[in-house]
Point group: C2
Chain length 338, copies 2
């Protein structure tokens, strides 16, 4: 059995290129006591990987040259020495990008899934996985969303943003999405049913455009972008507004010189609360609600699936260039039967 | 009876100059029903005045050319039509900078004081007034300070910072102050008994200096400065650290081009909470504790008193140039007996 693994070949300068990644063949690992060998089926491709490619410490250590790329993956148990996991069980957790991987109780973000009938497994990597969990926890636990508020979501066509905006709509808020293309704007408005959408690439004054789209001001900003987007929104917040810092894509490709934010004075003047978070564990409530909304069709799932581990580097590069709609994931094509 | 009033003569370009201010003579106002005429004794000189001199809307409307400068003042009632205030009572509130002013129940930040025996009245403008209240509320209600934490305070020799750092010491924290001169460093270390102090003007790499002074990382940053100071501290915070944004002096003199902050990504990576606040009302608990600490000598009061309303503009200019130690206030010299 071959085990293919995606590794870092060279450090990207800004937007990663597929040449920064390579695929190597390694041995299929042997599960130890209380471990399981898992055949990965899906890999979550996430902007948060990007800072780890720069060789500096962030909340996780940097990925070294030749070392495996990591993010949440979903797979099926093929061999188990773990008392609670049987062959065929579906596990989710933070792992190497590879065909076969080891799960244990130590695996970060570990979930032993009980997928519902009729729900595609890939959904458990996106809206029913970390992306949906981040949107839910960010809006509720961090952002304390309330019905009737005005909510703005950046990267609104992305894996997290598309879910966050829909949750805000379901919670009875006015939702305005920020996107970077006309195609994304149409999807967010027409398919995801946001109240309004702004294509920032065609907007000379983003703050003015947000004020126009939000006549009652902005109560809650769910931000995946940072940089000039955050700078504009700081000037649109209502007194006591909350900014949920889920990510800062604008900074990731420029770790050497992150983009400036000038209007932090508004944090004082408007008595804002800005809070960053990393989804270390999702909640039972989030999982239940997200399942129900997906099942009822209230929550539309947008996926951007790349097939084949050989294309993983390119998929990540495309994501980081801002070219994707929906949750980006890799569907693994296995080289041979397990 | 003459009534002298400090007005804005011209808009400052960056650091205000005494020429930006003028003193005019106006009529002593007549108190209406449920109002009192108050003879001002002290004026609180505060950096927060600065943004209102730029002619743009902030949390309060801009001060127009020829209009009175405003901030909290303390004075004694000379004539009362208010059912609860008698001649000689001491009132505190947000008012014009003038000899005689009108207080009513509508006065912002209104406090009907019962000064304790032996406590100088001027203290009710500083550590027992808005400055102490901001330090107390900022550390407790916003910052949720806990014993044993490491707390960093910027503008540590200032009216708010000097109190904030001492409260943190009293609460059993390790306290490190940031100041802009050797004179201030000596006062903060020796008189106010901070654990350590950093003179940022002599520190090429502030983040490295803070990490050295805070071997366990920074749990709570009480920031009065913003800009590059905030940028440095973002790189020193512990996971789940809190940043209390009390003010941003670094931005006030440059309203046209506020200083950039580059490292907001740390808000996500370290799961920080940044929260701005304006002291709209202090708490009973704050007043009691601050009184007790001042009375016991645990809290040292640093005052920077300028005598004479004619010198008010110069005092404010000096404050905004970073030249002052302790709470800056004006003691009014009355032109004639009331």
């Amino acid at each position: 059995m071959r085990n293919r693994r995606v590794v870092l070949r060279s450090r990207p300068a800004h937007v990663p290129d597929r040449e920064n990644f390579g695929v190597v063949e390694v041995d299929v690992p042997e599960p130890g006591p209380e471990q399981a060998l898992v055949r990965n089926l899906y890999i979550s491709v996430e902007p948060a990987i990007r800072p780890r490619l720069d060789g500096v410490d962030t909340y996780m250590p940097p990925i070294g040259i030749g070392e495996p790329i990591q993010s949440p993956t979903l797979g099926k148990v093929v061999q188990s020495n773990h008392p609670k996991w049987r062959e065929g069980d579906v596990l989710f957790g933070f792992n190497n990008w590879e065909d076969y991987t080891i799960f244990s109780d130590e695996t970060l973000l570990l979930e032993h899934l009980g997928p519902r009938e009729g729900v595609p497994l890939s959904y458990y990597v996106g809206p029913l996985g970390g992306s949906g969990g981040a949107a839910y926890v960010g809006l509720h636990d961090v952002g304390q969303i309330k019905a009737g508020e005005t909510v703005v979501v950046s990267a609104a066509a992305g894996g997290v943003g598309s879910v966050a905006g829909q949750i805000a709509r379901i919670r009875g808020c006015r939702v305005v999405g920020l996107v970077g293309s006309a195609e994304k704007a149409a999807i967010v408005r027409d398919r995801l049913r946001f109240d309004d959408v702004i294509n920032y690439r065609e907007t000379p004054d983003l703050a003015a455009a947000v004020r126009e789209a939000c006549p009652d001001g902005v109560d809650l900003f769910f931000d995946n972008v940072g940089g000039s987007t955050l700078d504009a929104l700081l000037q649109c917040m209502n007194m006591y507004g909350r900014i949920v810092n889920c990510g800062m894509i604008a900074a990731y490709n420029h770790g050497d010189q992150p983009p400036p934010v000038h209007h932090l004075w508004e944090v004082v003047a408007r008595q804002l609360r800005m809070q960053g978070f990393l989804l270390l564990q999702t909640s039972h409530e989030a999982a239940e609600d997200l399942h129900d909304w997906v099942a009822s069709g209230e929550l539309i799932v947008l996926e951007n699936v790349t097939r084949g581990i050989d294309n993983a580097g390119e998929a990540f590069s495309h994501l980081m260039a801002g070219g994707t709609v929906g949750k980006t994931l890799i569907e693994l094509d296995l080289p041979e039967a397990a």
